[in-house]
Each structure stands twice: as C-alpha cells, then as structure tokens.
Amino acid sequence: MVDTRGLFPALPTPDARWALPDAPARRAGESRVERAWGVLGSVPDPEVPALSVVDLGLVREVVDTGAGLAIAVTPTYSGCPATEQINEAIVRALEEDGLGPVSVTLRRAPAWTTDWISEAGRERLRAYGIAPPGRCGEDNASPIRILARGIDCPQCGSAQTERLSAFGSTACKAMYRCLTCREPFEHFKPI
C-alpha cells in the first residue's frame, strides 16, 4: 500500500459549525455492522473535512463476514489522489474501535454521484464555506449548462454570484465569487 502520510496538509481545527459528530457511544445489543456505520460517520474526507466518508456516500456497504468486516467503497473521481488515504483511514478507525480485521474493496458501479451526499453533509459543507452541489440527475450525454444556474453564496446567502473558474483546488470544485459580500468561495460541482 502506498504510504500517503505527509502528502496532505494537516486538517484545519474543526469549527463547531461544521465539525463532524464523534462516533456515538456504544449501545448494548448493537451489531458490529451498526457500530461500524457509527464509527465511519466520524471519519473525515481528507480534502473536505466537513464531510465524513458516510456523508459523501463513499461507503456503499458494510458486511460482517464473521471473521471481520468487509467494506465496499466507491471512489469520487477516477484520479482522486486521496483514494488510498481514505481506505487507510477507514481501516484505522474501525480497527481502533476493535472492529477489525477490516478489508476494503473498490466498487466502481454504480458510479459515485454528488446526489449521494447526505442532507446533514450538505449543511456542514455550506457552514464550511463550500456551496453544496445541486441535483445532477442521470443525464451524462448532453452538454453542461450550469453557467445559467445561480449558485448561492455560502457566506451571506446572496444569489448574486459569478463563476471565476470551472475547476478549483480539487477537480470536484469550481471557484466562484459573491457580488454582494465580495468574498470568493468554492462550489462543489454536481457530477
């Protein structure tokens, strides 16, 4: 496995407005799979720490194999450099909670879509300063005409915004600026 330590900057200190919840306290009679979902809900995405790997919809399935847990993960983008790091974080979090051994498998189909981002995740994304994606639907063939669609400023809520660039600090985001509060912000593109 590729050692990805040091490849990514340290996460910012969580802010109460967007911090992920801690893993819930252990409940009596809770199954290993239920416990695992709770733990994974507190594992941040390395590039968007306001979202957990569950909020993003990356974790598709958790199966108790008897001998351990088998996790199916669907990557966000074909070239996402965080894929290996996400898998490592999942394994580490579950093993630290005593749920190991854990195996992670890649599941390509159906392809990941921003429509899988949870409602709670969208709110935390906005609080973090990233305008959440609109619904993208099933159409992958026709040309994109997102320019006409207004993206609300996550800072002040104004609909008077303009796009600066189709791509941002990562492939999943575009750069915008608000014409009301004059602040720049990122938009998570629907895909």
Binding site: Y77, S78, A109, A111, N140, I144, S165, A166, T170, A171
Partner: protein
C-alpha cells in the same frame, strides 16, 4: 542499470482498450506540461485537474488490461515500461504541447477534439458487455463532460474573440485537424470489439463527434477545414517523431530506478 521493457498483451481486446487508456495517459502527460505555465492561475489549475482525471481513467483501464493478460502486469509497468511502438494512443494526443512552442489556443482545441471523442466513447462503453469496462466508463463519462464544457467554453471565447486570438485558433485548427481522421479509422480491433459487445467501432462515433465539434466551431466563428488524405497511425503503434522524446522524460525514473516507489 535500467529496467527492461515488458511485453504487453497484444490480443484484440487488449489493443482496443489500450487505445483508449493510452490516449488518456498521453493526453494527460502532455496537458500536465502546462503545470506552472498556464496563462492564468485558474487555467493552470483547470488543465492539471483534467490531467488528473485522465490519468485516473488511464490507470483504471491499464489495471484491467494488465490483470487480464496471459503474463499479468500492473498499471505502472504498462504506463512506464513499454517500448514506443507498444503505445496505442491517437497521434493527436502526443503532438507537442506547451514545450513545442504551441499556445493555449492549441491546448484547448486539442481538448475539444479528444475530450469530445472520449466523452462519446465513454457513453458507449457504459453499455459494454464487460462489466468492469462499463463501470470505469460510468465514472469517466461524467468527468469527460466537464472537460468538454471547459474546452468548448475556451474555443468559443478565443475563436470569437480578438483578431489575435481568432488568428491563433485558426492556426491551431489548421494544424490539428489533419490528425482527427485517425479518431475514426477502424481496424480489426474495432471490428472485434463491435462483434463481441466490448464497445463500438471507432467509426461509429464519427457522426456525433462531427456534429458536436461543428456546433462549437460555429459558435466560435471558425470554419471547418477541408478533410485531408493524410492519416496518422499512432493507434497502430506507428507514432510521430514527438512521442519518443516524451516517453524518455516520462519513463526516466522507472527506467533508472527499477521498481522505485515514493
């Protein structure tokens, strides 16, 4: 000491998939030459982000081809340890980029041509009889759609722009158009893919590609050049003089430091 070349799989299925994979790989490498040299920071970031998507798409297909080979190889061996003639990318992807003195207009036009072709290819490959190929395509088609949007936006902006930008787009169009015939030039690997349900023959993409590209060029006030009898042959392994130099740079680390990881 240098790492010797591998013998890549050469059956019709592998050749068909390697063409798409290698076009993504070589296009990604060329486009990434803009890293640190984009006309504005936002475009520098956009071009490198798209390269990353292309590299990921190439990796997924190379992994699949390598696993299925009689003598299995991994995606790194396929990407870095083949001889020039074993790369099956479309010639268009390997033509000099920024380092060859070409400009941004050339880069965005090439993105329009290759991006539209890949977008159409991925759409069709979503229905591939090979579930792995269909899965890779299902992801890639969404990314390609954003690449086409970016390229179209710039081709229109520059073509229908100033006298200077329009002149540069015209020159880019004249020099790149010759290489677009190859995108639809069928051979036995295409025939086999169409017959086995792996994917479409390249020629099946031509009508939709021409319609999509013509619409953007019309918006950009650019006239379609005449077709030429010239045929490039990169997808058969016979490349322009430019690929070898690029591979020398791309392969250097893996050749000089066998199995090096970092």
């Amino acid at each position: 000491m240098t790492t010797p070349s591998i013998t890549p799989p050469n059956d019709l299925r592998a050749r068909y998939l390697l063409r798409v994979a290698d076009t993504c790989l070589i296009h990604a490498q060329r486009q990434s030459e803009w890293c640190g040299h984009g006309p504005v920071l936002e475009e520098d970031i956009a071009l490198t982000n798209m390269s990353l998507d292309l590299l990921g798409q190439a990796r997924a297909l190379l992994t699949l081809v390598g696993e299925g080979a009689a003598m299995p190889v991994d995606e790194d061996q396929l990407a870095f340890l083949r001889e020039e003639r074993d790369y099956l990318n479309m010639t268009l992807a390997e033509l000099p980029g920024r380092k060859g003195g070409r400009d941004f207009g050339d880069a965005v036009l090439r993105n329009l041509f290759i991006g539209t072709w890949l977008h159409l290819f991925w759409q069709r490959l979503q229905a591939s009889g090979d579930a792995e190929v269909a899965g890779i395509a299902g992801k890639a088609v969404k990314e390609a759609r954003y690449h086409v949007e970016h390229a179209s936006d710039w081709v229109v902006r520059l073509g229908d722009g100033t006298e200077e930008s329009m002149g540069r787009m015209r020159r880019a169009l004249d020099s790149l158009w010759l290489y677009t015939s190859e995108l639809f030039d069928d051979d036995e690997a295409d025939a086999n893919a169409a017959a086995t349900g792996l994917g479409p023959a390249r020629s099946e993409l031509r009508a939709n590609w021409q319609a999509a590209v013509a619409a953007v060029l019309a918006d950009a006030q650019l006239a379609l050049p005449k077709d030429s009898a010239f045929r490039s042959t990169g997808s058969r392994g016979v490349h322009s003089e430019h690929l070898g130099y690029m591979l020398a740079e791309m392969q250097h680390l893996q050749r000089s430091y066998p199995g090096g990881k970092w």
